[in-house]
Symmetry: C2
Subunit: 418 residues, 2 copies
């Protein structure tokens, strides 16, 4: 036992850590965003990262927003959409200001179905829209065309209502047990979600059987979409992570990170005891690109999936996902070492998310701004890489920029003078 | 390039390795043993390991055989069953003499449904009966009572016909793709089959939906049994392994092992270029026992699941299954090291079964009798541990006895003098 009295910082961080790790996310429904997301029952498009003025969005992120306006039928082409956005007749919002969390550009429009994920004890909710399918061309990667529209319609008219019917029949699907199991089946729940997607599908099987007489082919198609690739569960992992991170946000005096995200212009973090986003330059990336692409094509069009790393998943659990070597490059030994180094910058070990390869040690959880600076270890994130022409061109590992942590530390010292 | 001319031994082993690794097992049907297993359309009980005379079977293996006689309704109690076995009115056979492969005591009776697994190119077939369920008391662990009987009846009347209907509707289920995927989802396909069981259930699910109207609750129950634990796929892994090993058997001049198995009295191996079993003493075991049990209870009642290790799975793929630490003891570092050491005694690296944690190196495959002796590395097997009172009391890692390899080398030199 140490005689040292815990400081206010220790006490605050322990409280934020406790809130973060006690979250018990349950998928309670799937509804159109306008019916359930605060502030979405109007002409608005949400996009990833700290808010920018509409005119500041560029590249794929701008294209994604324009695509969202057309998808809603508010405009029939890009020029009309831009006019509506320029005039403010269609608003642009930041996902996390609406309890949403965006994958890549993270385009949300009012008609899009969203997962409603709730921590039942506290009632804390977060929302995430749904995976568009395995095509590399997707709205959230800054592309909108007939193929992308058809994928989104399939999600809206087939996938979402079928899963929603099962979820309602079941009275909700607890997500944490699935997440815990999948971490020892090769997932880290950011860039790899194969086992979790399968486990989620399996949870729904009994209900799908009962619904088959009524819904028929929609059920067959849904099973196919749920399990055809590695990604379906990502959006549930993100919404679960957002619930946990938001529960930990707002603890006075806490220096734990409660979000990491970026838009086309900047990377940013949120810190529990500090209001607002703390912005910095873009992150550094080690990418592995799909054949036929090169580094000059890499672009930033937003991304909030690092909410998973924020609560001890993704890069913070990558030792559990050795197959990511093939997807994002690097050796397994390097992945183990990188994962291990993150214990130096986190408040604690996750009581639920455990890694068999580390003798069932809990994943490093709760990034502490001060430890990042003291240890000179930057948080790492497993991310998909977007190309300037739109679409996914690869995957890789990103390190958060030190500037965000330096700014956060300075802000913290202003807010909480010793 | 080496100038060394390959020896006859090299050529023969390369051929056996090629046959073993080219097997493409497909589940083609599930039928009662009497309808499909050679020599089973009579009063016979099959059990694991090299054949013994009925009177030589003891302990749990003897109890299992007696249980099989009662299960078939040939006797109404143990005394009547023993009388039938003593008089020869009920025969006792060795599983592998009938293209079957036994889990633990491996009790097969004519009415029991068996998986029919076929290599379609060659028509080579193997059979395996089905997992009895997650109760620690099972016929294959030497116990027969009302509970065990009810489990077996559930398998016979619900599980087997439901899966069979789906398999027939699908025109067969290729098993190798499931096995390949599961190795990078935490399975080694002997003591851990969680992902493979889930992947198999997912393959059948579209067919289950179509059959639901006709079969109703049987489908719900089947989904539950298929995924409630880690073991369902083991019997498919065993039958697939048996097909591959049998394809590799009988190559003149080959010193590769084509089976490892034991009965209550002895451990034994088969070698491709040598007829018959080569018998030795029992294997050494490092066990982790369930709470409330101790080492004095450990007993041998037969086991042929090491057919999986024979073709590069189980202990030969345990680096892919870190969670086995919790089940069978030992550290993950020790598992990685042990797995790595097996490359020294195997002919080659599996072209299909690959381990991400070893940078996608193929699993060590094709145990060479001579390398085992030269390198002094014994094949290891992941096994379930039976207790003297019957039932499973734990799990562990077994090393094959060196005597079998010494005898095999001597026999080989007699058969193939230089």
């Amino acid at each position: 036992m140490s005689d040292r009295k815990p400081s206010n910082l220790d006490i605050a961080n322990e409280e934020a850590f406790r809130r973060m790790t006690s979250a018990d996310p349950v998928l309670v429904d799937i509804l159109p965003a306008r019916e359930v997301v605060p502030g979405m029952n109007k002409r608005i498009v949400l996009t990833s990262g700290p808010a920018l003025a509409w005119r500041e969005y560029e590249g794929g992120q701008r294209q994604g927003i324009i695509g969202g306006v057309i998808y809603e039928g508010w405009a029939s082409n890009a020029d009309e959409a831009v006019a509506l956005l320029d005039s403010g007749e269609v608003a642009v919002g930041a996902c996390q200001d609406h309890s949403c969390v965006g994958s890549l550009a993270g385009i949300y429009t009012p008609s899009m179905p969203v997962f409603v994920v709730e921590d039942r004890a506290s009632g804390q909710r977060a929302f995430c829209n749904m995976y568009e399918g395995k095509s590399r061309k997707r709205l959230n990667y800054g592309i909108y065309d007939d193929v992308v529209r058809d994928q989104l319609k399939l999600v809206e008219y087939v996938l979402a209502p079928t899963i929603a019917a099962a979820v309602r029949e079941m009275g909700g699907v607890p997500l944490k047990p699935i997440m815990i199991r999948s971490l020892n089946m090769g997932d880290e729940l950011h860039s790899r979600n194969t086992a979790a997607s399968l486990l989620f599908a399996r949870e729904l099987f009994p209900s799908f059987l009962r619904l088959y007489g009524e819904l028929g082919e929609a059920v067959q198609k849904t099973i196919e979409l749920l399990t055809e690739d590695n990604y379906f569960f990502l959006r549930l992992s993100m919404a679960s992570s957002k619930v946990a991170a938001d529960l930990a946000h707002g603890v006075e005096g806490s220096s734990l990170v409660t979000a990491m995200a970026f838009n086309c212009k900047e990377f940013a973090i949120r810190v529990s005891g500090i209001d607002g986003w703390i912005r910095g330059p873009h992150a550094a990336v080690e990418a592995k690109l799909f054949d036929g692409h090169d580094e000059s094509e890499i672009t930033w069009m937003g991304g909030e999936s690092p909410i998973t790393e924020t609560i001890g998943l993704g890069g913070f659990a990558q030792a559990g996902a050795p197959t990511l070597q093939a997807y994002q490059g690097g050796s397994y030994a390097a992945m183990m070492e990188r994962n291990e180094s993150l214990y130096r910058i986190t408040h604690g070990e996750n009581p639920d998310f455990k890694l068999a390869v580390f003798a069932y040690r809990g994943t490093p959880t709760g990034i502490d701004v001060f430890r990042v600076l003291e240890e000179r270890v930057l948080p790492v994130m497993d991310i998909g890489i977007a190309g300037k022409g739109g679409g996914q061109i690869g995957a890789g590992i990103v390190s958060a920029p030190v500037e965000c942590f330096q700014k956060a530390a300075a802000l913290y010292k202003e807010l909480y003078p010793q």
